[in-house]
């Protein structure tokens, strides 16, 4: 049995939202370091609570592995004189590296041969190497919101370090904190510290303090306790995943409790009440007979007095509801439509104007896409009205206090302000999905407004250089792109990405657009699309095929990818791809693209090919076919004629005009096929 290494960095409460990334990065840094330094181990594990970052390495070798290092010397031609004697250059090199002539090796680097010696470097003590480099491992964790104290920059101040290899203390020092064989209990708990005499006792000690070290176990504990309350009380608990994760990382010793909901909750619409409970009270609503009867919270500290804590939570929840009732009643006094002017006071983004400006852009953009979709006059009126009111609820007191209620308040107030029911429905729905795989709007009109709103933000952000970097995405454009794609897919329409962006561009002033490249934005959105495909198990050649089609229509890209996946091994599809690639390869370097001249055809095969091409093209254009399955099912004869053409006709005719005419013909066919995908990407066949 080898020795185990334990490091616990004691920190003042790390923000819940950063905890998982922080420990993950810490572990990866540590692992990369050990690998780089050739220190062997059996397993590396990591755990984190808001106050502890823990690394546990099982069976760590006491020494680095011995290494053989190759040292490069002079060129062979310089190392030896013409009669084969070692030159002073070589001798100097040997002396410097304490090498022996008989151990010399020769190797070619580039054009020349060089002299090498190999040196065996003995491994140093692992403990010493870790001690020396620990601070760098810790401080190279990327931080989103760092702070300074004692001239040190980290997420929050470090207050203790427990570092052991079995029972031996690793000497680490950060500012004036020195490592010891001590951990700290849950908050004060009467004692200031607990001795950990051996790394292997650590987990037992921590557990006996009521601390649950791992995120997964804490989450599991909360879920288990919630579900046992569900059974006991006969309620259904609305376990919001984000809140669950937050509470898991706001506690190191979680315990679930429940309370009756304060009676005054009945004075609020349920949708508002739920949000107040989750965001304001950080509790989950529990529902029985379609009514919220209890709320469920998580206390930090299993030994703390639940009865006392419950009382505090009850009062705070009551106060939050009270506050919300005040806001809501005030908000009801002003009609939604009378609030639009106030949007001039709320900045959307400093280069992109206020929400008033955004509202105007959305309305303009809607009018542009009406030409591309089937929509009745009545629906247009409703959609325009909803767009006008879509952000008006931002100026309500309720939304200013609870931004997550944007949309929901808009819907409720629009109904109170006697707007059409459908208008309220759109306002309440267009904000969904709020994140990946969130619920989708039910109404297609809500989807249209959602698409338009997102395109506006994406285009605006890209023209004002707000595109995300690896570190920052202040506008949340990744999330917006994901949800845009989900909306476009579920909307089942022929809206093309390029058109949408171009329409949106027309709603922005010219001086903003100077450096904008539409391809940048399309590629960014494609990047998210690719991830969605990958997660759905679509192989990469199919993804590239559909995403690189000449006209990216997200709904059809999605549909076509699914279809190609189904027929991937089908012999007809293989034939299709073969024929495509024959044309693709021969026309690769042919850039000219001229009109096809019937009178220049010589052979029957080319005339026939031209006829069928014209027919299919006609049909595709007339019926607006974007669906690859439809095209594929009609393509059998086309493929046959393509093959006949290649078998019987020599494309590269001596007569330049005949040759070019043939190239024009097949290039046109390629263009037609490329509308459905870049099939050269398909690997099979």
């Amino acid at each position: 049995m080898g020795k185990n290494l334990l490091i616990e960095v004691g920190v003042e409460e790390i923000p819940a939202r950063f905890l998982n990334d922080t420990i993950e990065d810490f572990k990866n840094n540590f692992k990369n370091f050990l690998d780089k330094e050739n220190i062997l181990y059996k397993n590396i594990d990591h755990f984190a609570t808001p106050r502890r970052l823990v690394i546990f390495i099982e069976d760590i070798s006491p020494y680095q592995q011995n290494r053989i290092v190759k040292i490069k010397g002079p060129k062979r031609s310089i190392a030896f004189s013409t009669n084969g004697e070692p030159t002073s250059a070589l001798l100097g090199f040997m002396e410097k590296n304490q090498g022996k002539l008989e151990d010399l090796k020769f190797e070619k680097v580039g054009k020349d041969e060089y002299v090498f010696i190999e040196k065996n470097i003995e491994g140093k003590l692992a403990k010493e190497i870790i001690e020396k480099n620990f601070n760098e491992i810790l401080f190279s964790i990327p931080m989103k919101k760092p702070m300074k104290w004692d001239n040190i920059t980290f997420i929050r101040p470090i207050r203790w370090i427990l570092a052991l290899i079995d029972d031996e203390i690793l000497k680490i020092k950060i500012a004036n904190v020195e490592s010891k064989n001590r951990t700290h209990p849950f908050l004060k708990s009467g004692k200031d510290f607990i001795k950990v005499s051996n790394a292997n006792n650590y987990f037992e000690i921590i557990e006996s303090e009521g601390i649950v070290l791992s995120f997964d176990k804490r989450k599991e504990k909360i879920i288990e306790e919630l579900s046992s309350f569900e059974k006991e009380l006969g309620v259904k608990i609305d376990v919001d995943e984000d809140l669950l994760d937050e509470l898991t990382n706001l506690t190191e010793s979680p315990k679930v409790f429940y309370l009756p909901i304060p009676n005054i909750g009945k004075n609020l619409p349920e949708e508002i009440l739920i949000e107040i409970l989750k965001k304001g009270g950080k509790v989950f609503p529990g529902i029985k007979n379609n009514e919220i009867v209890y709320v469920f919270g998580v206390q930090n500290g299993v030994n703390r007095k639940t009865e006392i804590i419950k009382e505090g939570f009850y009062n705070i929840i009551k106060a939050k509801i009270d506050d919300a009732i005040f806001f809501y009643n005030k908000d009801k006094e002003i009609n939604l439509k009378d609030r639009i002017d106030d949007l001039k006071k709320i900045v959307f983004e400093k280069n992109l104007g206020t929400y008033y400006d955004k509202t105007l852009r959305i309305i303009k953009l809607l009018s542009r896409i009406y030409g591309d979709i089937k929509i009745s006059e009545e629906e247009r009126i409703a959609l325009d009205r909803a767009a006008l009111l879509s952000y008006a609820d931002l100026v309500t007191l309720t939304v200013q206090e609870y931004p997550e209620l944007h949309g929901i308040i808009g819907k409720i107030l629009s109904l109170i302000s006697k707007e059409e029911k459908i208008v309220g429905e759109i306002i309440g729905e267009f904000i969904y999905p709020r994140k990946r795989s969130d619920k989708l709007p039910k109404n297609n009109l809500s989807k249209i407004l959602g698409i338009v709103d997102r395109i506006d933000t994406l285009t605006g952000s890209f023209i004002t250089n707000l595109e995300p970097t690896s570190k920052e995405d202040p506008m949340g454009l990744r999330r917006i792109s994901f949800t845009l794609i989900e909306l476009l897919i579920s909307f089942e329409n022929k809206l093309s990405l390029k058109n949408l962006i171009e329409y949106s561009l027309s709603t922005y002033p010219d001086n903003l657009k100077k450096d904008f490249s539409i391809d940048n934005l399309i590629n960014f959105i494609k990047g998210r699309f690719k991830l969605i495909f990958e997660e759905n198990g679509v192989q990469y050649d199919i993804i590239n095929c559909v995403l690189n089609s000449s006209n990216l229509i997200p709904y059809y890209s999605y549909k076509n990818a699914k279809f190609i996946k189904e027929i991937y091994d089908n012999s007809k599809f293989i034939e299709f791809v073969k024929a495509y690639k024959r044309i693709f390869n021969i026309t690769k370097d042919y850039k000219e693209f001229l009109e096809i001249k019937k009178e220049l055809f010589v052979k029957d095969e080319e005339k026939e090919l031209f006829e069928i091409y014209k027919m299919i093209k006609n049909e595709i254009e007339k019926n607006e076919i974007f669906d690859f399955s439809t095209f594929f099912n009609k393509s059998e004869e086309l493929i046959e004629k393509i093959n006949n053409f290649f078998d019987q006709v020599l494309v590269m005719d001596k007569d330049e005009s005949i040759k070019n005419n043939r190239l024009n013909l097949i290039k046109s066919i390629l263009t037609l096929m490329k509308n459905f995908g870049s099939f050269e990407e398909i690997i099979k066949s």
């Binding site: 003042e12 409460e13 923000p15 819940a16 939202r17 808001p50 919101k145 702070m147 300074k148 104290w149 004692d150 001239n151 929050r156 101040p157 207050r159 004036n176 904190v177 908050l187 004060k188 708990s189 009467g190 706001l250 506690t251 009270g281 950080k282 919270g297 206390q299 930090n300 500290g301 030994n303 703390r304 007095k305 006392i308 804590i309 419950k310 009382e311 505090g312 939570f313 009062n315 705070i316 929840i317 009551k318 106060a319 009270d322 506050d323 005040f326 106030d342 001039k344 006071k345 709320i346 900045v347 206020t354």
Partner: protein, 286 residues
């Protein structure tokens, strides 16, 4: 524990922690941070500890005394420790113990909440402290004030006194809090809440206030040009309060609002720089 007992206990506690016990500043401010005791105290590198109560006015939060939890004016107990001791959290938790909040009974939690004052050019990171779900304290490691990077940094502990009293006395509304054994919070302050809200929301003359803003700004320029740091800073605080009243009335458009904030911050930043310059001059001549 009555409202005034809480204040007394905190004063005694922090006095024992070697804090100067200061008094609330006599100009309208939105938070304890704005008092010169904090704003200038956190600048420079000399160790410094202060604690004081600061009545804080936020017109935006005014509810005519109708809302059980919101006030035009509330009271903060403000503590500054420069540099922060390593066991600052433990000391803070001990202070709660003096108020009868025993750590071993309650769920005391530190929930991320970063703080920024655009008008003072100040920001910090830290937490709001929850006691059984109720936010009772703002706990901040100051990083910058007056646009200046702080070195060493200070910790700021701001107790919300009304919140703590609500919690300790188990009352539903602030106005029912016992100020002392005979007088309720409402007896003392309800009418003030109502009248100040009527003034801020209905009576205040917006156009005149804008003129007053310009006038104070001008005075600040004059005092700055004569290196009078404290008078300049006092004008900066007056500007900030007028801004708050105008803001509560919705008197600003977006760009205008940003411009007003920039005007105030410019004075705050110059006060801080001037203060450091004078101080460094003095310290080096010591």
């Amino acid at each position: 524990m009555t409202f005034q007992d809480i204040i007394t206990e905190l004063r005694i506690f922090w006095s024992k922690e070697n804090c100067i016990i200061g008094e609330g500043f006599d100009i309208e401010v939105g938070a304890g941070t704005m008092s010169p005791l904090t704003f200038f105290g956190v600048l420079g590198n000399k160790p410094y500890r202060v604690a004081y109560i600061q009545p804080s006015r936020r017109p935006q939060d005014g509810r005519y005394g109708d809302n059980p939890n919101r006030l035009y004016k509330h009271h903060q107990f403000q503590v500054i420790l420069k540099p922060p001791p390593d066991d600052v959290i433990k000391i803070y938790i001990n202070s709660l113990g003096k108020l009868g909040i025993k750590e071993e009974d309650h769920d005391i939690r530190f929930v991320e909440d970063n703080w920024e004052s655009p008008t003072l050019g100040a920001w910090g990171v830290g937490w709001e402290v929850w006691c059984d779900g109720m936010e009772i304290t703002q706990f901040t490691y100051f990083q910058q004030a007056g646009g200046v990077d702080l070195k060493p940094i200070s910790v700021e502990i701001t107790y919300g006194l009304e919140r703590i009293a609500l919690f300790l006395q188990k009352k539903d509304t602030i106005f029912e809090i016992l100020w002392n054994d005979d007088i309720k919070y409402g007896d003392l302050r309800l009418n003030e809440e109502r009248e100040m809200c009527i003034y801020s929301f209905e009576v205040a003359n917006i156009e005149k206030l804008r003129n007053v803003f310009d006038f104070y700004e001008n005075e600040a320029e004059v005092t700055l040009s004569k290196n009078l740091i404290l008078p300049s800073y006092e004008f900066c605080l007056k500007l900030s309060h007028i801004f708050n009243i105008l803001d509560a009335r919705g008197a600003f458009g977006v760009t205008e609002r940003t411009q007003y904030i920039t005007r105030i911050r410019s004075i705050a930043n110059r006060c801080a720089k001037l203060f450091l310059k004078e101080k460094n001059g003095k310290e080096s001549s010591d």
